[in-house]
Amino acid sequence: MQMSERKRLVRSFIVDNLLFGDGERLEGDTPFLEEGIVDSTGVLELVLFLEETFDIRVEDTEVIPENLDSLDRIDGFLESKIARKAPAAGLSS
């Protein structure tokens, strides 16, 4: 299955910044904490990247492994964030 552009961007950020380019074993469901890919500082870097790249605000309460601990989870999280944002954008236009 082809990876979405969104997921590809996130993957590329993680591989380039947290794995020094060595991301061969990074699958969609690879758990970041368990595999030692993302630690507590890493997750703050990830949040900043998501906010800047996808123009969203990640709330403090959303910084949890359920949203951020694998590529698949991040993709799902982004999808719901962007979906929630879309109607609001519509209203303001």
Binding site: L33, D39, S40, V47, L48, V63, I64
Partner: protein, 354 residues
């Protein structure tokens, strides 16, 4: 507290014996040690290390008025005598008002030579206060003179996952702002604050060099294991006499050694931030007795249920603690490392110890 069936082989006051049989119940006094024997062991170790490895004539100890540095200094005196221990009192502008009187009380009780080195001018020299305030303003834009602040750990054992820190800032009028720290503010605040530990260490080595003494570090087991120290700051020392002792055991030794009650009764504090900060806020969000039992349980393969019963926590909380402690141990491993080499220099093999 559970008090049942402690297998004798699992009772390991030194905490050295990981690998014992799994524990399904923890005794309330599982961390109780043979204080006199422990003091003797540390005394012998210090004397031997000074003579054979370090080749120095005594010990410099930075005393903060806290329990760890007080016990370390008292052990140093037991090991080499008061005339071979030098105490350093190093407050700065943000130190708690009780820091200095408690530190003085200790060095006077021990009868050791000491020096007061106020590190405020040194910190001003490197621009610490401006850098720190600027870093805090990244999180609280109206932070200014007269405000006080600290960082605290978000209650990790409840939120399962990341160890994230919040900034607590209090205005001169008493208004308190709490905000979870984002990447840049967090890194800048920690980086600036580390000036304090590193400045103190520079002075410890200055005095150690002029006296031909070694520097004794003061981390307890939790701090050592979980990397609660600043590399090149409080993490740097020639010898760490209590790094194998749980904090509960450090308190027991303090009582045994006769450390003044005013120091023993003082609530543990990091004394690092301008707003009073309990160690429990900075470390795991739990009192040290409970954290000690979790770490002991983790080290001895105890079940989460057994630790939960002994520590008054839920099994889920203990499981989170186990997981977080394992992760933190891995994440902070580089803090223990000597400088790494791209290629071996065989004539200079790496030394044991960190």
């Amino acid at each position: 507290m559970s008090v049942l069936c402690r297998p004798e082989r699992s009772r390991d006051p030194s905490g050295k014996g990981a690998g014992a049989a799994p524990l399904h119940e923890l005794a309330a006094d599982v961390l109780r040690l043979d204080a006199e024997r422990t003091v003797d062991d540390i005394r012998s170790a210090l004397r031997s290390l000074l003579r054979t490895e370090l080749k120095r004539r005594g010990l410099v100890v930075a005393v903060s008025g806290g329990i760890d540095s007080s016990v370390t200094a008292a052990l140093a005196v037991r090991a080499v005598g008061p005339e071979r221990v030098f105490g350093l009192l190093m407050p700065e502008r943000h130190s708690a008002p009780e820091t200095l009187p408690l530190s003085r009380r200790l060095v006077e009780w021990l009868g050791i030579e000491h020096a007061l080195e106020d590190i405020t001018p040194a910190l001003e020299g490197v621009g610490f206060y401006e850098r720190y305030d600027a870093a805090v303003r990244l999180a609280v834009s109206d932070y200014d003179e007269g405000w006080r602040s600290k960082i605290v750990l978000s209650s990790m054992h409840e939120r399962a996952g990341y160890a994230l820190y919040s900034l607590v800032a209090r205005s001169p009028s008493g208004r308190t702002v709490t905000t979870q720290l984002r990447l840049r503010a967090y890194l800048e605040i920690v980086a600036a604050t580390n000036f304090k530990q590193r400045t103190r260490k520079m002075l410890e080595y200055y005095h150690a060099d002029r006296l031909h003494f070694a520097v004794a570090g003061t981390p307890n087991r939790l701090e050592y294991d979980q990397g609660f120290f600043v590399k090149g700051g409080d993490g740097l020392a020639d010898v760490k006499p209590i790094a194998h002792l749980y904090k509960t055991q450090v308190y027991q030794l303090a009582e045994h050694l006769g450390v003044p009650e005013s120091i023993r009764k003082q609530a543990p504090s990091t004394d690092t931030y301008s707003l009073g900060q309990g160690q429990d806020e900075f470390y795991f969000g739990l009192p040290h007795e409970k954290v000690d039992l979790c770490l002991y349980g983790l080290n001895h393969g105890a079940s989460a249920e057994a630790v939960a019963l002994a520590a008054g926590l839920t099994p889920d909380q203990v499981r989170h603690m186990f997981r977080d402690m394992r992760r933190k141990r891995v994440a902070t491993r580089p803090l223990h490392m000597q400088s790494l080499l791209a290629s071996e220099v065989p004539e200079i093999p790496p030394l044991k110890g960190t």
